[in-house]
Subunit: 266 residues, 2 copies
């Protein structure tokens, strides 16, 4: 949404520069989020050595395709991506959205191939962590090994939450839970949790939540009528999160306090 003027081109340029500069993890703007507190200085250097920074992806470019062989996991530095897998009938199933500081690729370790594709929703920059190196390094650094297990466990847990959502909740509960989830994840990265831009289309949201686009659209409208949110396309302001939590049917384990340190990266 920011690339129609010259100044925005400059901004894009800057992202590229950031890449070229090969900033170390220490200086990375996501440093605090991106690294567990438990890793100390020298360990951090070791970790830094194995991390590769890639050229930013433009909107709709793929980070990896379905079935491509697995050698790295990725961390989002800026921007966002969706992961999706093809279904029999040629459709796609959106399996997740990935915001800054979040991981992709853990589901590929098992089979050595990516079971889903990852596509940038906007200009997006990621760190690549070659798995072989990571595995080797985690032999030396027990903390790292534990962090890795912890992250994967977190992902299993999150997926179960989502299964609950998909299996048992109404359309309004699903959308409500979705918005709160995004809100929380932004908050964890230091962004506003009450006002944000959704980088994904209504179609992607609907797909992810197992609903028809039309239903999602109607729910957005209803939420506005009910004063729960203000929404202008992708620009969202949450007006009544307490009520939304009720609607989402969330239990304590999903509120802000408990999830505070989730998705810490490597």
């Amino acid at each position: 949404m920011q690339q129609k003027t010259l100044s925005s081109n400059l901004r894009n340029k800057k992202v590229v520069d950031l890449h070229a500069a090969k900033v170390a993890c220490k200086e990375c703007s996501l440093h605090q989020l991106c690294l567990p507190r438990s890793i100390n200085g020298s360990d951090l250097e070791k970790l830094d050595n194995i991390i590769e920074r890639k050229k930013p992806l433009k909107r709709n470019e793929h980070l990896f395709q379905v079935g491509s062989s697995f050698h790295s996991i990725y961390v989002v530095r800026s921007g966002s991506l969706k992961t999706y897998s093809p279904t029999v009938d040629g459709q796609e199933q959106v399996t997740g959205f990935h915001l800054p500081g979040e991981l992709l690729g853990l589901d590929a370790i098992g089979k050595g191939r990516h079971p889903c594709a990852a596509k940038a929703l906007e200009t997006t920059s990621v760190c690549e962590v070659p798995f072989e190196n990571l595995e080797g390094l985690s032999q030396e650094l027990p903390t790292l090994q534990y962090q890795l297990l912890r992250l994967m466990s977190k992902e299993i847990f999150d997926d179960q939450e989502l299964m609950l959502l998909l299996g048992k909740k109404t359309a309004e509960a699903r959308l409500s839970a979705f918005l709160l989830s995004i809100s929380l994840r932004f908050k964890q990265r230091g962004f506003s949790s009450i006002e944000f831009y959704l980088s994904m289309s209504r179609n992607d949201i609907a797909n992810y939540l197992g609903l028809a686009v039309e239903t999602v659209s109607r729910m957005f409208t209803r939420f506005q009528e009910d004063g729960l949110i203000e929404a202008e396309r992708k620009h969202i302001i949450l007006k009544d999160r307490e009520n939304m939590r009720q609607i989402a049917g969330m239990n304590e384990c999903c509120n802000e306090t408990s999830a505070k340190d989730s998705q810490q990266i490597i």
Copy 2:
């Protein structure tokens, strides 16, 4: 279903004896399934040393409760369990069924507490693997570390499959996929893949699949009318798996060949 005669009591007795015997992993009937081919003899002994065998659970007994602190992962030796978590409205959400050779507890690593409870669906015997030991041991045995990551990755992948099922599929596709999944998992353990007993109730199935019991019941009836299965309560015979795969809308990645070595333990 087999405990109304004296002979069946004897059979139950035998399970208990099996426990008392404290058989080593090497002699465990699940040996091949339970251990990766890549671990050699001496490594196997090390692994065996940290595994504890527990007293079998009776039907409806809990292996662990929601929120209980995590110290072990478990492998089903015989019998079966369901995992479930409470929802806000006091209901329960069944998150999975666990057949012999399959794992429980990986979702607890992240927070150090079990996010769900595990209850035996029948007389059930499990191996307990203390996580701290496992973690330490996997420093020494890189293969073990990789197996652990691989298993967790598999679980993430499987959950995503289920999400697809819950989000996009009709009731008949869900039940069809469920039966084929059970069938496959039995096959992987050397049991018949076309005739088996379901240890879980229709209620549990419905809950797991995000459907009403009545819907599940009707689908069982319809499947019989259509000649897809023969079903007498929990006793199921699959008559036309090819057709069921069509109905389930399964893509190649879910068929028998590709999933053959899934859920190998530790």
